[in-house]
């Protein structure tokens, strides 16, 4: 035969479970656990129990109270979560999200950042030099004779004071070497200028990354390895890279670098991306003369240098058909690279 408390518990649990709503549940709570509720009143009755019965009934009372309380809580939680779910179910989840206005980096900046990151992995430090240069840094020191066509006013922008806008970032090679002895391992991103008619592939101003590595025993093989790694990192491991002999006054041998990849616009064609070569000994000799020492002894040091056209690389990588889009900064263009 069960104790009346157990009977009471069973009645309570039944009532709680069948409570149809929060009001009914609250009524059940008052009925059983309220100040004068049927379970609470057992507390009063305890006083009249015998010493032996007291602990047993006390324990039972606690268990019953806990069970009923838990049941009420659980039932209450069910009601609340039902209510919450019902109220949220009305929300139209297809409504647009709150606009989050993203800014973006210019595609040329992204191209520069990507390239610089790759060079940094190979241990190149950055170097810098001015856009407004003198003829010595831009031409003489780079083994370009005084009557060379590039020096002509038809091809180079001059300032009234005789200075010029550098026609390539190779000027930074000279600035770096005159400032510090070898070994040198630098890249120099920057702008260069040519007096070209502006069209889809030429701007008056363009962007380059110049590179220079001078050390003992630097070879064409090192140049190849470096540039192959760069192109594979930039355009994917399946990219083919070829080195074509060419002519620049400040390198010998001189090599132009072409890439070919199905992933790139232009598909199966070789695309010229970079001029490069082994630093011409005459360049070292000019640097030594300016330094007043023999730090760059061509018999001891060799080096490679390269100039990567960033606008062209960005056009290839992003499939941009016209170089002028970079300078126009149309929002519809910029946002594509966000």
């Amino acid at each position: 035969m069960s104790h009346p408390l157990e009977q009471l518990r069973d009645d309570a649990l039944r009532e709680i479970d069948s409570a149809p709503n929060e009001q009914a549940l609250e009524a059940a709570r008052v009925k059983f656990l309220g100040k004068s509720g049927s379970i609470s009143s057992w507390g009063e009755q305890m006083k009249s129990l015998s010493k032996e019965e007291k602990p047993i009934v006390g324990k039972l009372l606690n268990e019953v109270r806990t069970a009923v309380t838990n049941a009420i809580d659980a039932r209450g939680e069910t009601f609340r979560s039902q209510k919450e779910t019902e109220s949220l179910a009305k929300i139209d989840i297809s409504l647009p999200g709150t606009p989050n206005e993203r800014g973006s980096l210019h595609p040329l900046t992204q191209m520069l950042d990507r390239s610089i990151a790759i060079f940094r992995r190979m241990g190149f430090a950055l170097a810098d030099g001015p856009d407004v240069e003198d003829e010595w840094h831009c031409f003489d020191a780079l083994n370009t004779p005084p009557d060379h066509p590039a020096r002509n006013e038809a091809d180079t922008f001059y300032l009234p004071d005789g200075r010029l806008l550098r026609t390539h970032t190779s000027t930074v090679q000279i600035r770096t070497m005159t400032a510090a002895p070898p070994p040198i391992r630098v890249i120099a991103p920057g702008a260069a200028y040519r007096r070209d008619e502006v069209d889809a592939t030429h701007g008056a101003q363009f962007h380059q990354i110049e590179g220079l590595y001078v050390d003992r025993n630097v070879s064409v093989a090192d140049l190849k390895g470096t540039m192959e790694y760069l192109m594979h990192e930039l355009f994917g491991a399946e990219t083919q890279v070829r080195f074509r002999p060419h002519y620049f006054p400040f390198t010998e041998p001189s090599l132009e670098i072409d890439v070919k990849s199905k992933a790139l616009k232009g598909g199966e064609q070789w695309i010229e991306v970079c001029g490069s070569g082994m630093v011409h000994p005459a360049v070292f000799e000019q640097v030594n003369k300016a330094r007043g020492d023999d730090a760059y002894d061509p018999n001891e040091w060799t080096g490679f240098a390269f100039g990567l056209g960033m606008d062209r690389l960005a056009m290839i990588l992003f499939g941009v058909p016209d170089i002028r889009l970079f300078a126009q900064n149309d929002l519809r263009f910029l946002r594509q690279f966000a």
Partner: protein, 809 residues
């Protein structure tokens, strides 16, 4: 330069992959053009009659003679012929380059036994306007292939150091060196024994530093006329117009050997030729029909009265060869590249001749070219050349020998190439290996010597050989003046060996970061902060137009701008950003929030500074949003917010600047680092206020902390109290904050404005209502309400007393 493959084949066998071979050896093929007919069953036919097609207005019915004896009837749509013309006829069975197969057929009811062809149908060029009218000399019935032999034209980019490749013989010589195939024919050699005598010092050269050598040969009795077909076809195949036999011969020799020559009408020259510098202002009527005013640094060829040619550039109109010429003087000279380059550029008169002299012609070819032209004049124009060639000056000596270190070459290339292979390559390029001084030829050990001595000699010999193998001296041929030092020879080796045969190596080196590295990192950080704040990065041209509307005062201008859009170096980035604004507004943008980080060039000496500029215009949100009722306009406080994203704790002071309607200076601590404000509406065509700011970013870099420092997190709660007040309109936020914060209340942690209202009744009373939230905190304990209330009451009291604020409870 354009090269005819047929012409090249006269000198050397060509491999199938000629384009690849040359390109990979540094002689880049830019374009390959297939010429001529490769079509069977197309013959020369003469139109013997033509009548209107009975059923089609635009067609005619022709009767043609194809040489077979029976006339053919052809329906034709072209109008550009007349009866008697000779035209190409595609016979039934012919397959044209465009894929069309010719069959007998009926056109609108009339039988057509073939098709008359236009140039494009035969694959010649782009002309589709009518039939190809052939020369009246064309033989009826002859295959069209005979008239247009197939040829391939290579358009080749010759680098400026390789003047020796600017001729068919020169390129053939290069191909021979690369493939090892021998040069065939003897056209390039002076005929042995029969060489004309030189009458030295017969020509006066007053400028030997510009023209070291000049030769002239009198050639009498020339018969001027059109060139024979072969000559005409040859020069025209590479894009030179045929003029007359004498001029064509001169051009032919230049295309064949690379040496320009010039023919004067001998009877129009007044006295002997001489070479001198022009007199300042001397006038010259050139062959192009223009009169040039010369300067004293222009080299000229003159007779006793006037200038008759500009050295290495162009001959004169008055002394040129014409229909009536009977005697000529043939010039062949060596002009120095720098001289010709200077003059051609000064006069803006580039020519085929100057192009070659600028890049350096082969001294060894000067007289050979003269002789070759003479031969052809004798053959073609029936000429009687003088026995002697008059000359002045001396041809330059061969270039000096170059030493070559095999080990150094291997080191520079990063690959080991057998000395034997190196020698083979250099010899093929025309270099001569010199015997080392003091070494007898090794073949001197003969039979009959003592065995002992023989052994000793053998030992010596092998030592000698080793030393020979380490390095060698090489003689350079006259046409390769670009080979001056060992690296030039190394380049020849690698060109022939193939760069592709060197495998790349992964060489790296640890490098300490530089100032430029730190600056780049800082720039990247600035950019990413602005991008995170929702701004788009722009990159505008550093060259700005002559009259940029604003922010361009005193900009340093170029001495030689090319277009009006790129005239000056930007002193500020804002003019470029305003241009971007205009472009985007035209394209329909409703909002623009952009920045640029880059160089500015500060007048008067174009000092380079790193600047950061921001431009804001238009709606605060790019698109209207279903949850936001109104889309407010961007304003000065958005600009301040954007600047805060870059550098915290900037302060702003009123300023004045002509391009700004509202101008502020931007200060960081006690340094002015830039300016900003609202652009004066007179300086911008855009509707609505435009806000700009420009900071000198180098100054920010100075103050930039490399790493943030940790500050203990607050462990005790803060207490906030709001204070709402009405103050006179002229009292600024800054003043209110100063009163709140001074004297300093240790418990006060921060002050934030959270409401401002100045409309309605406040406006008419010239007052405004503001509400601030004050946060109190003691870092070492929990505050009591009493102490906060006391501190807050003091602040309230100050606001009342010092600003006359009406405080609201």
């Amino acid at each position: 330069m354009k090269f005819s493959v047929n012409w090249l084949r006269e000198f050397v066998d060509l491999p199938d992959d000629i384009a690849d071979l040359l390109t990979m050896a540094g002689v880049e093929i830019e374009r390959i053009e297939e010429r001529g007919a490769k079509i069977d069953n197309v013959v020369v036919a003469q139109i013997t009659a033509s009548s209107q097609h009975p059923n089609a207005d635009r067609l005619s019915v022709c009767e043609v003679d194809d040489g077979s004896g029976t006339k053919r009837q052809i329906v034709c749509g072209a109008k550009n012929y007349k009866v008697g013309d000779k035209v190409p006829l595609a016979l039934p069975g012919a397959k044209l380059p465009n894929g069309l197969e010719i069959k007998k057929s009926k056109l609108r009811g009339v039988e057509s036994e073939g098709m008359l062809c236009s140039p494009i149908e035969l694959g010649f060029g782009e002309d589709a306007s009518g039939l190809l009218i052939l020369s009246p000399d064309a033989k009826i019935g002859a295959p069209i292939v005979d008239l247009f032999p197939a040829d391939t034209i290579l358009d080749v980019e010759i680098t400026p150091n390789r003047g020796d490749l600017l001729s068919h013989y020169g390129l053939a010589r290069e191909i021979s060196a690369l493939t090892g195939k021998k040069i065939v024919g003897q056209a390039h050699r002076l005929p042995a024994g029969d060489a004309p005598a030189l009458q030295k010092k017969a020509i006066k050269i007053a400028a030997p530093n510009e023209c070291p050598f000049f030769s002239a040969r009198k050639i009498d009795n020339v018969k001027i006329g059109p060139s024979p077909a072969w000559l005409r076809a040859k020069i025209e195949s590479v894009g030179i117009r045929s003029i007359n036999n004498i001029v064509d011969i001169s051009n032919f020799v230049m295309l064949e050997f690379g040496q320009p020559t010039h023919a004067f009408d001998a009877d129009k020259l007044k006295g002997a030729l001489n070479v001198r510098m022009a007199r300042d202002g001397e006038k010259f009527l050139a062959l192009d029909g223009k009169t040039y005013s010369l300067k004293s640094n222009n080299l000229v060829i003159a007779d006793q009265e006037r200038v008759v040619g500009i050295g290495g550039v162009m001959g004169g109109e008055e002394t040129g060869v014409t229909e009536s010429t009977t005697n000529v003087i043939l010039e062949a000279a060596y002009f120095l590249p720098a001289s010709v380059r200077r003059t051609a550029r000064n006069l803006n008169l580039p020519s085929d001749a100057s192009y070659r002299f600028e890049r350096g012609v082969d001294p060894g070819m000067v007289l050979r070219a003269s002789e070759r032209a003479t031969e052809l004049m004798r053959e073609i124009a029936n000429a009687k050349p003088a026995k002697e060639i008059q000359t002045g000056g001396e041809l330059p000596a061969n270039p000096p020998d170059v030493s070559f270190d095999y080990e150094k070459s291997d080191k520079l290339l990063g690959v080991t190439i057998e000395p034997k292979r190196v020698d083979e390559i250099l010899i093929r390029f025309g270099l001569t290996k010199r015997k080392l001084d003091g070494l007898k030829p090794s073949s001197s050990t003969g039979e009959g010597r003592l065995k002992k001595e023989g052994r000793r000699l053998k030992a010596v010999e092998s030592n000698e050989r080793e030393s020979i193998e380490r390095s060698a001296r090489w003689g350079v041929p006259s046409h390769r003046r670009d080979l001056q030092r060992d690296v030039d020879l190394i380049e020849e080796v690698v060109r022939a060996y193939g760069v592709g045969n060197i495998s790349g190596s992964d060489r790296s080196r640890f490098t300490p970061s530089s100032d430029a590295d730190r600056e780049y990192n800082w720039e990247a950080q600035l950019r990413s902060r602005l991008v995170a704040a929702g701004l788009l990065e722009a990159r505008t041209s550093k060259l700005i137009p002559r009259n940029a509307p604003a922010f361009s005062d005193n900009a340093v201008t170029l001495k030689n701008p090319l277009s009006e859009d790129h005239v000056a170096l930007r002193p500020s980035l804002i003019s470029g950003l305003l241009d971007v604004l205009e472009r985007n507004v035209r394209a329909g943008a409703e909002k623009l929030s952009i920045f640029e980080l880059g160089r500015a060039f500060i007048p008067p000496d174009a000092k380079e500074e790193r600047h950061l500029a921001i431009l804001l215009w238009g709606n605060a949100s790019a698109q209207s949003d279903w949850r936001t009722q109104t889309n407010r306009r961007l304003d000065l406080f958005d600009l301040k917010g954007a600047l805060d994203a870059v550098v915290p704790q900037l302060s702003f002071r009123k300023w004045s600047y002509p391009d700004l309607a509202l101008a502020v200076e931007v200060w960081s601590g006690d340094r002015k680092i830039g300016f900003g404000g609202q652009v004066a509406s007179t300086r911008s065509t855009t509707t609505g206020p435009v806000f700009v700011a420009e900071l000198h970013a180098d100054l920010l870099l100075d103050a930039h902390e490399v790493a943030k420092k940790f500050r203990e997190l607050d462990r005790f709660p803060s207490v906030t109290r709001d204070v709402a007040m009405i103050v006179p309109e002229k009292v600024s936020h800054e003043e209110i904050v100063r009163v709140i914060e001074n004297p300093k209340t240790p418990l006060l942690e921060s002050v934030a404005l959270f409401d401002l209202f100045s409309g309605g009744e406040f406006a008419s009373a010239e007052k405004k209502s503001l509400a601030y939230r004050l946060t109190y905190r003691e870092r070492s304990r929990t505050l009591t309400h009493e102490e906060v209330n006391a501190a807050h009451a003091k602040i309230r009291e100050r606001l009342r007393e010092q600003l006359g604020a009406e405080l609201r409870e």
